[in-house]
């Protein structure tokens, strides 16, 4: 890794953004964010659709020029040094953008040539990477008939063809079934263990919890919280959450009676969430107040609750 130390001796961050802004016409998609990503880290942007995650990733990937603020990627200026930066990045975009009429192997070979890698190196890497993403026996089959999970794994292999210093993954598992998501997480875990720096965006809180060492919670172009997943939960949510579901139509009447319970009561269209450090006591009190919810579920707090607490909205609408 070609990461020169900064004057004070600690290694320079791979990504350094200060008051970074992206506007499309009058619309501000990214509204002055500060981000630092260190080498070897798995860093996440967690936020709902439209939060500005892809816009941020495209600026970091040196494909979209920032409108305002400062941005350094791998110590370089993405506007001036775009080609040098992109030569050292791996990118898994939100769309697969695979050539479906070509074979798995050819998709990788063509991509490798964009980086001007010698053909012999490309051949070796294709073997290695298809092995890594478990598509070895699909090398000569067309992309078109592959499953969604397989295509996504192929895109990950493609992003690694240039042996990048850092990999950017924009919603790596959106639209996949649970089994395919787990297979993909396992591969990304493998990358992490190899020491590859990962930056990923997601609107799945479980994905963020599983993969990210550190993350920022993004909403409407701004960062609303930052930290390790466990730290964010500890800071912004209580230990437990009680989910109450009422029979149809009864939630409205029940709501006033829940007043003051736990630390915080949040009403969602289909259920009520009460956060508390003593869930048992809250449940007892619910019954004492004469309420009869159809179901009562006690669970530990997640990043979803952090997001809800900070923005008043859910991650997935």
């Amino acid at each position: 890794m070609n990461n020169s130390p900064s004057p004070n001796g600690s290694p320079a961050p791979l990504v350094e953004a200060r008051k970074l802004v992206k506007r499309f016409g009058d619309f501000t998609a990214v509204d002055g964010i500060d981000v630092e990503v260190q080498a070897g880290e798995a860093f996440g942007f967690l936020g709902p659709n439209g939060a500005g995650k892809s816009s941020t990733m495209r600026m970091v990937g040196a494909v979209s020029p920032p409108t305002d603020g400062e941005l350094k990627v791998l110590g370089l200026d993405p506007v001036r040094d775009g080609p040098q930066i992109r030569a050292r990045l791996g990118v898994v975009g939100q769309d697969n953008a695979l050539d479906e009429q070509l074979t798995v192997g050819d998709n990788l070979a063509i991509y490798g040539r964009y980086f001007d890698l010698p053909r012999s190196v490309i051949r070796e890497r294709i073997d290695e990477l298809l092995d890594f993403v478990q598509l070895k026996e699909r090398r000569d089959s067309k992309v078109d008939p592959l499953s969604g999970g397989m295509k996504r794994r192929l895109v990950i292999a493609r992003s690694l063809i240039n042996d990048p210093d850092m990999v950017l993954l924009d919603e790596p598992t959106t639209g996949l079934d649970p089994q395919a998501r787990h297979a993909l997480w396992e591969r990304l875990y493998g990358l992490k263990q190899r020491g590859v720096t990962l930056i990923l965006t997601t609107h799945y809180m479980d994905e963020a919890e599983q993969l990210c060492d550190r993350l920022v919670v993004m909403d409407q172009g701004r960062i609303v919280a930052e930290g390790a997943p466990s730290q964010l939960i500890a800071t912004h949510a209580s230990r437990e959450v009680i989910e109450l579901r009422f029979p149809p139509g009864e939630q409205v009447n029940a709501l006033p009676k829940l007043d003051g319970l736990g630390e915080h009561v949040e009403e969602l269209p289909d259920r009520v969430l009460i956060s508390s450090n003593d869930a048992e006591a809250v449940v007892r009190e619910v019954h004492t107040r004469g309420l009869e919810p159809a179901t009562v579920l006690i669970r530990r707090s997640t990043l979803e609750d952090v997001f809800l607490r900070l923005t008043g909205r859910t991650l997935i609408d």
């Binding site: 040098q84 990118v91 975009g93 953008a97 479906e100 074979t103 063509i110």
Partner: protein
Amino acid sequence: MATPIAVRVLEGHLREYRHTWRGTTISSIATPVLFLAAMGLGLGALVDGGRGVDPAGDITYLAWLAPGLLAVSAMQAGAGDGAFPVMAGLQWIRTYHAVVATPVRPGDLLIGNLIWATIRLTVVGAVFVGVAVAFGAMALGPGLAALAPAVLTGIATCAAVSAFMATRKSDLAMSGLFRFVIVPLFLFSGAFFPLSELPAMVEPVARLNPVWHGVELTRGVALDVPTALHWAIHAGVLSTVFVVGTFLGSIAFARVLRA
């Protein structure tokens, strides 16, 4: 030494072509050959039996039509290459978005595409010349020389169509482009009948058609006959369309890919 970036894009086209050459080559050769047979022989008998295309009387309709067809089929193939792959790359499959995440820049992508179009149009055109020679419609040497203006017509169209399509979001624009622009330019290009047959008021308008300049130049070279205007004017019009198309196309590609 680093491979020029546009050449890397070209390599991608070549690798893709290994899988797709049959379909695309057959259609881009079969169509003009069918036209040559049907119109050159069938219609030709009628035309040559009447006033003919050449008042001096030497040139058969078949021989007159062949270079025109060479130019307009290059133009059509160029339009196709500038429309479908560009729409797919920018909007439908978005493959271009993955390409420009590498050291390849939007302009490299367009130029690589145009180099590829040049090669493909030359190969397809050469096969057409071979067929036309077999029909007795062309002489081999002048026919091959006429490839140059025909291919220039094709890549000028390709550049202009690429530039236009890159500014569009939906495929509706594509059918509109073919129906209302490409087909009229094809029909009124002077490939099938001399523009002088049009009403006197219409002819000057038809001469604004850049494809007519391509047909005129290609025919001039293939038949070794004088062109309507000085050859440099015909070549200049085509080159201008090519250069302006490429310039605007680079801007349009960057607007989409570097938003």
